[in-house]
């Protein structure tokens, strides 16, 4: 597995239309992206298709990724995950990639804030485990499986609004936990 710096270098070469760099980027990252997409879609054939769509977006939008403290893997996984979720919801890409790229390249956190953010990322698993079990599972299901409020409400057999309340409270608790 390449380092974040190596991935970042590859992305900047891809932005210049370098196909060899794109090939290397794919070789270094596709197993992770495929894992993410497969987890959401749970179907190999559509996951193969979606992972291609995700890399096509990465090829086209590589120029928008610039080092801003956001990990390049996070940027790529976000694209893959959103592409997979768009697929299961059969919606048009409501979260347009431009929006994603926009906020990830918007005046980002400075390096100091990024270091804090990286620490927070490591803490999320711990903080989720401190939530009541169902609530922790619901948040994990939303992130890892791309479940909507409706999916989660059905899975946990509670009314939709109850699920919303649960999740919002959980997110608030999470935020407080991670800010500690």
């Amino acid at each position: 597995m390449a380092t974040a710096q190596e991935i970042e270098d590859l992305i900047s070469r891809v932005a210049l239309g370098d196909r060899r760099a794109f090939s290397a980027l794919y070789d270094n990252t596709s197993a992770k992206l495929f894992g993410v997409v497969l987890r959401v879609l749970n179907d190999r054939a559509s996951a193969e298709d979606v992972v291609q769509d995700a890399y096509m977006k990465i090829w086209r939008h590589a120029g928008r990724y610039s080092a801003n403290g956001m990990s390049p893997m996070t940027w790529m996984i976000t694209i893959a995950r959103n592409t997979a979720i768009d697929r299961i919801r059969k919606t048009r890409a409501t979260v347009d990639l431009d929006g994603v790229a926009e906020h990830l390249t918007a005046p980002g956190p400075n390096p100091e804030q990024s270091a804090v953010a990286a620490g927070e990322a490591k803490r999320i698993a711990t903080c989720l485990d401190q939530l009541e079990q169902d609530k922790g599972s619901a948040v994990r299901g939303a992130y890892l499986e791309g479940r909507s409020y409706a999916d989660l409400a059905a899975a946990f057999n509670v009314p939709l609004n109850t699920m919303r309340t649960w999740l919002r409270r959980s997110l608030q608790t999470l935020q407080e936990c991670m800010a500690k």
């Binding site: 894992g35 976000t78 990830l104 948040v139």
Partner: protein, 231 residues
């Protein structure tokens, strides 16, 4: 505990988390997306939550897709498998950037010492540089004279070796423009056949034995590459 959703005050941070998790319905989602461009605070919240949740990415197993997935992807993106052009094989495409063209343009003005009595002819420049900047030449082509003036600003031939300059038009084989002298400046004449398409040329410098490539094609390492662009 109440089930009413409004017992949590509206909060952009929680909204950002819902957006990142894709919990919002399409209308709400579009509304957040529309705000992102003009609301840096909300964008920062979205970025922060993206990073926080990224901590869960470690829980996803890596699973290599089948080899055919990559082949199909490249076909979708690039069409049929192509014969890689010379400079792509050289792997030095990354040495070409707009920034380096700007630098070349700057040097071009400095190296053009011939006073222009008449309207200046179109000029083209190329920053021929090694990836690690260990070798760098700036080329200026004057379309009136058909001459390429070269200034070597960094690096030189290895001991007992020479530097040879090549012009590459698209997929065509490299055409030798000659062995470069030891002097840091020189001029070579661009062959007639290459003049019309000069703006799409790539110039490259290879490492060759004394006297230049014995085969008419580069035999040694390609040390530096530069795209030509109009000034």
């Amino acid at each position: 505990m109440s089930d009413r959703i409004d017992d949590i005050p509206p909060d952009d941070s929680i909204l950002a988390a819902e957006y990142v998790l894709r919990l919002l319905d399409p209308v709400e989602e579009a509304a957040v997306a529309a705000r992102l461009a003009s609301d840096p605070a909300l964008a920062a919240e979205v970025a922060a939550w993206t990073t926080r949740f990224a901590g869960l990415d470690a829980e996803v197993d890596t699973i290599a897709p089948r080899a055919s997935v990559k082949a199909e992807l490249e076909k979708r993106l690039f069409g049929l498998p192509d014969r890689k052009s010379f400079w792509q094989r050289a792997g030095l495409w990354q040495g070409i950037s707009l920034a380096s063209v700007a630098v070349a343009a700057f040097f071009a003005f400095q190296t053009l010492q011939v006073p222009q009595a008449t309207a200046p002819a179109p000029l083209f420049v190329s920053d021929i540089a090694a990836e690690d900047q260990s070798l760098r030449l700036l080329a200026v082509y004057n379309s009136a004279s058909g001459e390429v003036r070269l200034t070597r600003t960094t690096g030189s031939a290895a001991s007992g070796r020479v530097l040879q300059l090549w012009a590459i038009a698209g997929e065509a084989a490299p055409v030798s423009l000659g062995v470069l002298p030891e002097d840091t400046t020189t001029a070579v004449v661009l062959p007639e056949a290459l003049r019309e398409g000069v703006a799409d040329l790539v110039l490259a410098v290879s490492d060759e034995p004394p006297g230049g490539s014995p085969t008419g094609a580069p035999t040694g390492a390609v040390l530096a590459v530069g795209q030509v662009s109009a000034l």
